[in-house]
Symmetry: C2
């Protein structure tokens, strides 16, 4: 993409130095004069009615300034959509999972606050609890919510084409059950919030949030505040991966405690609290039935899933929607049925997580496709090529594929990996069996949620040619501030260093829904582009006069402003800005851009509608070594070919893909909550027992950018890397099968499971 000066370059992040030096401030690092510390009291039962909470001893502890319970929040309930407002910030009447928040304390220091929590006496009436999703759905199971007999939180159905007809036309039909794990987002920064009530009535909150505008809306509702008084300020964010969209008990508690004490209040969850009771990924049980022609053409697919949503619904509607509605990609599946139930259990509630929704059903679909290929005697890569969608394809539920490099991705991983040699090379050395697996993938590039989709940006040009960019988009660690600054720099013909991105502040930066469903580049990016173009146009009006040409004939590039039809007529960008802004002509150059996604809002009733402006694609080949004696899997090499449209910053894309592979590796092989099924207690509540892969565990990661120029994405860019989260799971499991001949359909792949499967396989050769 040689036409660009800034875009397409592997430029270092704008927040790199503060973050690398440790000097960048995260919410937990902030401190204010007179600040108090807050702590939360958590339930010691998973399901119980609260008979009484006695806070009197806690209140008497010296240094304690306030103690609050659910009653202080006036019965406020919230949830992602109005029909599922089933959660209270602090339980007023009943706890529904072990570790649920009951009360909060503000004290002069953290230790005092913690001690005060231990002095609060809660009288419970224990209720029978249910920790298994199938048990929860059985008649007679303990009922967790008044409004939900049968413990069904959501039940979505989709039906496109003629599924029964499709199965009838199929020459081979396969049915299987898969299970995905209950995993943690494992961002290193826990939830942290610092709240201050201002003397003019403003509520100022510094919080680690992916979507500060969500919290601003929730707080306005919870505390009956006009929105112009709710000021959520975004410090640096130590990642979220879907865990930080909501407002949490600490957020509400900090507001009430700050109000009651008249002091700023900070609350930071410990990692133990995070691992005990914070949001996690929904585990799914997936029954999938697929029918194909003898040549591998998919004729019909029927998917039934049960998700264990834990105690509350949260963003569950989106999870259950995406799991069904985006399973119609990346293959041509004309006849498709989905039945998705999200059940309540007495476990911590589940939320969005990278690969949101898709990671579950695509895992099942990809593995089953491998099984079908084997049954048909086809190359798994070939069956994917056979069914892969092309540019211009529209799924039966209306997802519109713009650019699509899926087939090229598949070809690239075939060409550049050992794929074609997988039967020829020696796959076993002593106890070590090697295997290789392939997977294809897709992801969306942002979506509309209840109409709240538009982004805006403003661009302020300084006299010296530097630029302040105001955006409401949230860089939760993915590097979006850098990408947005690059877009501004490109449009104005300046360098990345010339752009300063203001951290989000709901009072000063334009509204933006935040970071979710890989939306920032594709949704906030165009707003920034338009804002920069608007500022450029204002500058060009003067430049045209100075250069003696027409407005349309003025170009901006590499810190120069020039006549396009005669590039020798030019001047420095700085010369122009000095001539226009401030002491020059006295003008104020303020560019503005809006972008409203040209997509449809999810229709939960039908699953119909094009919910994203564009879709990324990818193919991944993974290689493993399996120790046949211990069952231990060594994931040592992977190649991800990725169509993220035009990679605006290839270095950022690479970093994100690396991260996705590593996270998915953990979620396939080592990470998973261990829950005591007798009482709902989480057993692994630190990072020694909740095992994430370390740098040394990470495979060699090869990346291939299959560049497509998407017609909808800014400069042709699409979502980057989240699709690779989706393909890593199945590519590993497929490689294990290739090495051992056993399918592990129930994640995670522990050595015990591999060994057990190898034993059950008995005399059958591990070699395919």
């Amino acid at each position: 993409m040689t036409q660009y000066s800034v875009l397409g370059k592997p430029l270092p992040r704008v927040d790199g130095i503060p973050k690398a030096t440790g000097e960048g401030k995260y919410a937990a690092d902030l401190t204010l004069p007179g600040m108090l510390w807050g702590k939360l009291l958590r339930s010691t039962l998973a399901h119980a009615r609260i008979l009484n909470i006695d806070t009197s001893r806690a209140k008497r502890l010296p240094g304690v300034k306030a103690v609050i319970t659910g009653k202080d929040l006036g019965g406020f309930t919230y949830g992602f959509i109005p029909t599922t407002r089933d959660e209270s910030p602090l339980c007023p009447e009943k706890v529904r999972f072990m570790g649920e928040e009951l009360a909060a304390v503000a004290a002069v220091d953290e230790d005092t606050a913690e001690e005060a929590c231990s002095l609060i006496k809660v009288d419970y009436e224990p209720l029978p609890a249910v920790f298994d999703v199938e048990e929860a759905l059985k008649p007679g199971a303990p009922q967790i919510h008044e409004h939900a007999p049968g413990n069904v939180s959501l039940h979505y159905k989709m039906n496109f084409g003629d599924v029964e007809g499709g199965f009838k036309q199929s020459e081979y039909v396969m049915e299987d059950r898969f299970q995905t794990p209950r995993v943690y987002h494992a961002m290193l920064e826990p939830h942290a919030t610092l709240t201050r009530w201002e003397s003019n009535g403003d509520l100022t909150v510094w919080a680690s949030k992916q979507s500060p505008y969500f919290m601003y809306r929730i707080f306005a509702a919870a505390f009956n505040l006009p929105q112009h008084r709710v000021r959520i300020i975004q410090p640096y964010i130590g990642a979220g991966y879907g865990a930080k969209n909501d407002a949490f008990p600490l957020d509400f508690a900090s507001v009430v405690l700050a109000k009651q004490t008249g002091k700023p209040v900070k609350i930071v969850y410990s990692q133990k609290e995070m691992l005990t009771s914070s949001r996690r990924r929904l585990p799914f049980t997936i029954d999938i039935k697929t029918g194909v022609k003898a040549d591998g053409t998919i004729m019909a697919q029927d998917i039934r899933v049960i998700g264990d949503g834990g105690a509350y619904t949260l963003i569950g509607p989106i999870t259950m929607y995406l799991a069904g509605a985006v399973k119609t990609l990346p293959y041509k599946i004309r006849n498709y049925r989905y039945d998705g139930i999200r059940a309540y259990t007495n476990l911590p509630a589940c939320s969005a997580h990278r690969g949101h929704g898709l990671a579950h059903t695509h895992f099942a679909g990809e593995i089953q496709l491998d099984m079908i290929a084997e049954a048909l005697g086809m190359d798994p890569l070939e069956i994917r090529l056979k069914n892969a969608v092309d540019p211009g394809y529209v799924t039966p539920n209306g997802l519109k594929v713009g650019s699509c490099g899926l087939k090229e991705c598949l070809e690239k991983v075939r060409e550049t990996t050992n794929w074609n040699n997988r039967h020829k090379r020696p796959v076993r050395q002593g106890n070590i069996a090697r295997g290789i697996g392939v997977s294809a993938t897709t992801y969306l590039s942002g979506m509309r949620i209840r109409g709240h989709s538009a982004c805006a940006a403003t661009i302020k040009v300084h006299e010296d040619g530097t630029v302040s960019l105001l955006t409401g988009a949230t860089d939760a660690g993915q590097g979006s501030d850098t990408v947005l600054a690059m877009i501004a720099a490109e449009e104005l013909g300046v360098g990345l260093d010339d752009i300063n991105v203001s951290l989000l502040d709901t009072q000063t930066t334009p509204a933006d829904p935040g970071t979710y469903s890989s939306r920032v580049t594709t949704c906030a990016g165009p707003a920034v582009k338009l804002a920069a173009q608007d500022a450029r146009k204002q500058l060009a009006e003067v430049a045209a006069e100075m250069l003696g040409t027409d407005l349309q004939d003025v170009g901006f590039k590499d810190h120069r402003v020039f006549v396009k039809s005669n590039p020798r007529k030019e001047m420095a960008f700085k010369r122009l800005t000095r001539a226009v802004v401030g002491h020059g002509l006295g003008k104020v150059i303020l560019g503005r851009g809006y972008y409203g996604l040209n997509v449809e809002v999810p229709d939960f009733e039908t699953g119909m509608g094009n919910i994203s402006p564009c879709y990324s694609f990818g193919a991944q080949v993974s290689e493993v070594k399996v120790d046949l004696e211990t069952g231990k899997v060594d994931y040592y090499d992977t190649t991800a070919a990725h169509d993220c449209g035009f990679a605006l910053n290839p270095m950022l894309v690479e970093g994100q893909v690396d991260g996705q592979v590593s996270a998915a590796q953990g979620q396939t092989m080592t990470e998973s909550f261990i829950i005591d099924r007798t009482n709902g207690v989480t057993r692994n509540t630190d990072f020694r027992d909740y095992k994430m892969p370390r740098a040394a565990d990470t495979p060699e990661i090869h990346q291939i950018h299959v560049e497509t120029i998407d017609p909808e994405g800014p400069y042709g860019a699409k979502e980057a890397s989240e699709a690779i989260m989706v393909s890593t799971y199945p590519s590993i499991v497929s490689a294990i099968y290739n090495a051992t001949g056993v399918w592990i359909k129930d994640l995670i792949v522990t050595p015990e499971k591999v060994l057990k499967a190898l034993k059950e396989q008995k005399g059958r050769s591990p070699l395919p």
Copy 2:
């Protein structure tokens, strides 16, 4: 003005509660983790070469973190215009006034920093100093600046019409000399600055400034920073009155100390430091010659002034310009000459001050006009009416009068005061003589300075119909945030409470020159108006559809949106915003407005050009009682009729007029620096010795709003109250004459001066 719902109402200030409760934060109130305190070392000589500064003992004091001198500022010099950059933040080579800043210390607390200052040893070579402006201008006087032999800092000349011809046509010519005082702005908040260098390279400064964008430019130049890295944030400001436009030694020192220590550094001047060495009002010696016809018609005026500017030039060009160029109002003076010299002396430098420039020459002109009226046997009020300008008048130097209520103001004060009875009533009771004086006045409503004039605003409409207003305008205490919020509320048809004004931040709020020359309402006001109209238009597009009408037919008023041609078709504003913003249609409503003053930049060479969009007018009658035995003057009553166009918030206008009367009262009668002419030491450096009037000293103030609707000002509004600063001085002096028969032409009017004049008057009756 019944057509408005919000404008024209006496609404309480938006910052009233935080300021009244003491909870609003001023720069000196701010604190940051790890913050150090800074202190400045001041010279103990008024004119001396610096031979050496030994900071070694100060550096060894425990708790001291850094000590800097002028050398650490790399020879940076600054000044208001490029040709007068004669000041260094910390003197590197030579001190030019007593108390000038030489070095600065950062330490763990204020006491340690102060102690460290006392340990810095400065070796001086004393130089002969000059503390009198006439001495300074004599040949052989000590030369204060290398570049200025003869100690002339500025010399401006203006000549319009045929002055000599005018005098020839005159039937009466009078010449006189007047003297105005050296006075302090006496704002209660001293200079205060808190500076932090951010880990991303940003420089963040919280400073008490009327024009944060001035400081942002100066800092970018001084520290070679791109402007997008300079973040000046405005806390509440405890008034400035012209004293807080510049950047001062503490500002520069805090930046360098923060850089060297890696910590935030706060520096707050004590009131003693403020009174010893900070900016003050330029004292003027004014020789004025005026020629009139026998009927009082002014035929020519020739003014020669010498201003004692102190050690540096600062904003002197504007002072000297205004003193000459705006003396062509409020009377028709066709033939006019001005010769203004600003001289250097070894005294603290002088800057802008309310009534900037005009207070001096208008004092002289008003008193002389009274003298002329007496000589001609005319009523002083009549001679003013005779010469008063009318709407549409253009002065010989191009000042264009839009609306003008001057004659009505004069008539109103005549009607509503004792003016017409001034000869009839008994004016003496025992030793107490009563007197009454009149004066007329004018002021500008903003001006352009070197092209830096445009204002911008953005308006963000929240879902719930509340609004965030971003403006770069500075409320230095005058209430402009309230007025700007009222404009936004009026245009959007909501209430003042629905608007939140974001405090200025040079990174996020649109650029604006700040608060000077009474410019905020007339310059930032239209920007806010346009921004609100822009947001309203975006909302109206949807409203038109919802109400089934045309865009032009949609009205906004009193929280309702309605069809103008059928007002029964309407809805709540909130309903509209909910339907449009966020969860509604998903739009972002962001209004934007620019306003570039349609005026000319001051031409220092000629004095020509219409420098302000509109001009306020006024007339004032003051009454005094003079104790003929002690010379003490009791200023007990005043009536100010004021044409500020349309009073957008009459309560704020009243407050401002009250303040101007009180300030001018002090500057006429009690306030004035007492300087030791042997060494340049200021003797009165606290508010016990520098005597401001207290509430009990303030006269009864009657105000009459003579409403004119100005064609240029927003909604017809103009400057409000600064004109009254200009008329109060002469109205008091004129009343004293009326009471005693003596003219005090050399301010301030001390009892000693009055007694001395009465004695000189000898046997002449004090009664006119």
